[in-house]
Symmetry: D2
Subunit: 352 residues, 4 copies
């Protein structure tokens, strides 16, 4: 391990629910890092940081303004947990300020924006820039990845993957629909990344999508749906099927299946909340993970550790196996997600 003076000094930006989790991980649970700064425009979020993070090695410096954080010379990397529409410019700003960047997905909902960030990042090959597709760091997804790499299922050719949320009667995502990009860019983008990652990053060639509004009529005005299905064809005869839903009764059910020529793997097929089974008059059951937060608690931590280790072992190498999704991966996820949305709206297959 690095001595304390060589720790990666990170500034977290955005302290909403997910930002708080990242901040706590970086403050207390990532040995090679220190949480040097935290930034939020909201006073109550900064107050939370003051209370919750002061036992870290360094009490983090607090900023209301992102520009000020970037000017802090004792910050080596920024950790962006901000609204999606800000991601692209904030990444560019960070790179220009000489900081490594971790940014929550998505990179951007616009391909041109994605490409602009990639072009800029190419100018800073010594800086790490990673987009947070945390599933790659979930221990079970990781185990599947390694089994595939070891040839355990032969040649993988089909991924089936889903992101489905427990129904939220309050319909937060309905109010969010104007800016979310729709169900495929908001949810399925994770499955797209999983599929590319597990299939060896083949190029997508054609997609088809369909959807329905099962419960939330408010989505119709945005051209969005609360349940969507899709097929994605890749070069070399590889395939993916996706399902996204906002309306599950039983919980957040994020699972994936990888089928190869000599076997198959599933990850999380039953989204068990824990190891308890309940026997009663209704049968035998397990409770389910209520949301992605609980499901991927470990993944967020492993993701942070991997980012730090990647930077310390030589920033900018872009080793996706160890450091997560690259900007190029994020661009591809957006490209495919946009094509799915286009197919949903046109009713026709879209060639990429």
């Amino acid at each position: 391990m690095k001595p304390a003076t060589e720790r990666l000094r990170i500034g977290v930006v955005g302290l909403g629910r997910l930002g708080k989790r990242h901040a706590e991980n970086l403050a207390y649970r990532v040995p090679g890092a220190t949480l040097a700064a935290a930034c939020s425009p909201l006073q109550d979020e900064l107050a939370w940081a003051r209370d919750a993070l002061h036992q870290s090695l360094d009490a983090p410096r607090l900023y209301a303004d992102y520009t000020e954080l970037l000017a802090d010379p004792h910050v080596d990397a920024v950790w962006l947990v901000t609204p999606s529409s800000l991601h692209a410019q904030q990444i560019v700003d960070a790179l220009q300020a000489g900081k490594h960047v971790f940014c929550e997905k998505p990179l951007s909902l616009e391909i041109a924006e994605c490409e602009r960030v990639l072009a800029e990042a190419a100018r800073y090959p010594h800086l790490q820039a990673t987009i947070g597709f945390m599933r790659r760091f979930d221990p079970s997804y990781r185990d599947a990845f390694e089994k595939i790499a070891a040839g355990r299922i032969g040649l993988p050719f089909l991924v089936r993957s889903q992101t489905t949320d427990q129904n939220d009667n309050d319909g937060f995502f309905v109010r969010f629909a104007a800016t979310s990009g729709g169900i495929f860019l908001d949810c399925t983008v994770h499955d797209i990344d999983v599929a590319r990652w597990l299939l060896g990053k083949p190029r997508a060639t054609r997609v088809f999508a369909a959807g329905t509004v099962a419960l939330h009529d408010g989505l119709r005005e945005f051209g969005d749906v609360d349940n969507g299905v899709a097929i994605c064809e890749f070069e070399g005869g590889k395939l993916a099927m996706f399902y996204a839903s906002r309306t599950q009764a039983h919980g957040n059910d994020t699972h994936s299946e990888i089928i190869g020529t000599a076997g198959a793997l599933t990850v999380g097929r039953n989204p068990r909340a824990n190891r308890v089974e309940i026997y009663d008059a209704s049968g035998i059951r397990n409770e389910c993970t209520p949301n992605f937060f609980d499901r991927f608690e470990d993944a967020f931590l492993h993701e942070a550790r991997a980012f730090v280790a990647s930077v310390q072992n030589g920033a900018g190498k872009g080793d996706a196996a160890s450091s997560g999704a690259t900007l190029a991966d994020a661009l591809e996820a957006t490209r495919i997600g946009l094509a799915l949305r286009q197919s949903l709206q046109s009713g026709e297959a879209v060639t990429l």
Copy 2:
């Protein structure tokens, strides 16, 4: 129950592997029926019938020729387990001879043929004509159907269903590819029927399909694939996703999932061979059903009992809930299956 003199006298036609099973069920395990006749052009199949069926109430009369069986006045119904290409004409011949008809799927691979049979059947409203989609009689599928009917999952809107076979290195289905109609008409047709049945028989409006040859290159010359995926849109915002495969490592894995506004059901998600679990150095596992024969052993029996009960309770009523798939159901399954094949070959969505 009916006295022996009122039993439904059935003649089975075709004594291949599946025909033999039907014959034994009809001979020994369907109380209201008697196996009155058996027909095959093959001497060894007739010899099998002579040996295996003689303990039934009536030793069945044996025919090498279908026409002779139809001329037997002591046969009330025919049970067709013959090559698919013969189905349509044999059904018409049976109806014209005044016999009830049970016929294995598919009705025909040609829509015009299907329609010709429906038109002919309309002239014999007192005769039962059923196509053998046996999943409707599997106790677990039946339980799911009843739970849906009881409102247990709210309004069902999405079916995911698959028919996947254990890989057969001999590639029987490759040799069979010229006449099978391709993977969607041969395998997915069952899932199409399941989807229509569980979703309340909505009209299909658009389909998209894709596929790949993972192992069996011999299929390419027939434009067929050994793994296919598809989406089917129905009126009213209902959806289905299908998967068919010839190349599974673990067994025949036929399962279905029905998602509604208040819950979901899966049928056969783990295709357990039985109730045994094995604990060894590789982990904890169950073996899987090797083929559809083992998986649907019970279903074939319940199917035969339901057909007989339906005829005895008033032939021709076409009550699908009790008597299985109607000719109209079979026509729809063929129509959707053909559209899937067309989409696979064109790469475009097909509107129905």
Copy 3:
């Protein structure tokens, strides 16, 4: 198969719920047998037989009196589904009348009675006498037996087995407690037979049992309990643990586990009612088999077929692997069951 004239002609005795099931199996589903006679002292049971069994090959002759049935020269075997207290004498009577005998468990609750039957049976080596421990014919238990025989778990040394019923608020078994012999002789006797069968029939050397009344205080006056646990030691360091319960919430949960030096097997660990899983706000669940009738429906049929095959292949061979539990097996089950009861009542280990 045997020609009709060589069929085993069976007379069923006792037409309660289980007797009816045996009668229907023998009448319709066991090709080498014919149900030649049925006997019950109750007019409504005979009326049921008249209605329900007349479509069998022979409409069975009906008797109100067991003696008359034994005098019927056209009956080759009797099938006793009568009260336990009658079993021993009825078996002796049947053997003396020259009939093969199948008898539901238990042979007797008294060791002296068991021994008397064995002594009498020894005089008729050409007659088959089998006690109905149907689990041996359940396909999953059978699969486990065969895997063990094939060495798949090394040397088996520990069986854990349970017989637990869904709670019956009406407490039928409370009223039955005076004659049932108590929970170990009524329920655990099946687990004892399973343990002996799967462990290679070692001799039991010592037992200890304990129990509690969780819900049914009416059992106390009989010295019985509604939940009992036990350990049984066998020669050669083999062991068994048993659990019996009348008070389960989730259903009849009959399962067994066999642990060997190289692996383990479980049979029925989750007593799934069928292949359906239900996803709703309570989680993911399966319903459970409500009672032993549903759980062992197949086993009763296979048991009948095996008995008939065994007689036809040479009666009296006592081949337990194919024909079920011998009288000697049944004696051992009673002997161990009685020791468990004695241990429960004394609080001390009992040496056999």
Copy 4:
């Protein structure tokens, strides 16, 4: 949270495999604590501490001698991960030095020793003394405890619990047999604590145990076995069944079941390694947790957090629900474990 100056300053004693894990948790993952000191008589363990723990808030002071650590006035609590035979005296020494104590199980293998520690601890009511039965802090066991407390299974009356290890051909535990106390004191002691905890701490009244040597003949000279089974009766008609094994093929399989008058719960019935399922020619399987380290990784962390929170919220309250097993709990576990060993050796039930 407490400011840094109010953190609980902990000294870990013993840096073997488990000690290292505790040290890392205390150094990096328990916000209210700081790892102030570490003690080991082994130079390589101290060297490890120097390397691995220096990034904690305080680089821990290193001691080769326990007495010196106790003399350190800047240590508030000791964390004992030392050989079992040292536990009792080290706890007494710590209390006399004014330190809170966490000690790995067992308290002692001698009842007199246990009682001596309890008597001494009674003199220091302001000091926390906890024995490390970590299962109480496993999230799934905790969930079960809470469901029981909420009445979800009615009145719990039977616990079945097991601790079984994957077979270790090297037979570490054989060499360890002279001092381990035997399988019941070494393994089952955890299940005893689980049973008492989940059943509401009833008093044990009688036990019976049996065992066998399935693979490791070297145990015979110590009167020990590699597979043991036991029954424990408690006052009020409560019961427990235990199984301990050193010879499992599939992994460490630690699971428990709690049966109540209105339902039951299982914890860890299938010891899944993670969320992956593997589909191949052998069936569908999951891999299993290889050892208790992997199984209880989270529990060790939660245990440390709970201890620290308990001390900070008012030391010495002995609130078992939040702070783990008390010395009295540990005494009871030893008392019952010793009775099991006595029963194993005598072949008779032992009354407590």
